[in-house]
Amino acid sequence: METRTSDRVHPVDSFLCTDLFPSSWCPGCGIGTVVYSFLEAVRECGVDLDRVMLLTGSGCTGSVADYLRVKSQRAETRFLLDQAADTGLVDPDRNIVVFMNNADLLISGAEDLARVTKRGARMLVIHVNNILYVITRDGLVTNTPYTRPSWDGRFELPFNLPELAISYGVHYFARWTPLHAGWLKYSIVEAFSRKGIAFIEVLSPCVLYEGRAGSIGDAVERIKLYDSYAVMNSNARTAQFDIRNSSNIVIGEILDRNAS
């Protein structure tokens, strides 16, 4: 029987502020897929959403907190990971989830990650890595591949984020793209049961600014591009996870320190 459009209820609608939709993200943005995978993972592993504290920072990833019916805080970029660790100290039973982007992690928070991991905090960090710094309009971050020169023609070498985070001592590290939403959901389910910091990097291209640069067109083309570039290899050495290697992008469940 055909249902009317107004009667249709999405399976994760109970977690969403549905009156705020459609969201402010661009058509085909990867953040929506990441949020869906997160909500599906919450549904699957039976985590009580009242016991989840969501922390977000700046930019498009920061507005994740606006659309979810979760207790949330929006921290300043600099203090995002510190605030998450402090929230965990106040209430150790609470599941801390941090959505962060390049501005929160690579511009000002990379040293905080080291400190927070050494303190032994317990949280799930979902890093939406769009290899750009969107606020400054097509700006560079320390994670931009060197095949794209900046506005003044400089080349900047990105660093290897998996190697950095693993050397800091995170307990779980996985890297996926939005196309691998099923695997991403599996990783988030796994990460909820880890004792230390579980770090999940999602390589999500920015539709607006990468489209402007001419390298990737619309959302459909970037899906095809990521399908052609992504190689799943969980047993690769961490040096191979560098996105500077432009022939392929190695994805997978990179590290699992306390596998049960």
Binding site: T3, T5, R8, H10, P11, V12, D13, L16, F21, P22, S23, W25, C26, P27, G28, C29, G30, I31, G32, T33, Y36, S37, E40, P178, L179, A181, G182, K185, V207, D218, A219, V220, I223, K224
Partner: protein
């Protein structure tokens, strides 16, 4: 396709932003872009071949706007 798993696809039209990802990732070629536009002026997807759906759920997983979902029909429900 005589598969045991059957599913129905539902589109929440007013949430769609017309990115076309669901049409691209569908392996069974179930969806197509409509000629109509929704309240925001985007061409939302419509179901053109409901029988072919395999129930993989890729459209539901990859939709960034929570605008499409599937409902898997149990085999006994199909027989009745």
């Amino acid at each position: 396709m005589n598969s045991a798993l059957k599913a129905e696809v539902y589109v929440i039209e007013n949430r769609c932003k017309g990115c076309g990802v669901c049409i691209e990732v569908c392996q069974a070629d179930v969806l197509e872009e409509s000629c109509d536009v929704n309240a925001q002026g985007y061409n939302f997807p419509v179901v053109k071949n409901s029988e072919a759906c395999l129930g993989c759920g890729m459209c539901e997983m990859l939709c960034p706007d929570f605008a499409i979902y599937i409902r898997v029909i149990e085999p006994e429900e199909t027989m009745s």
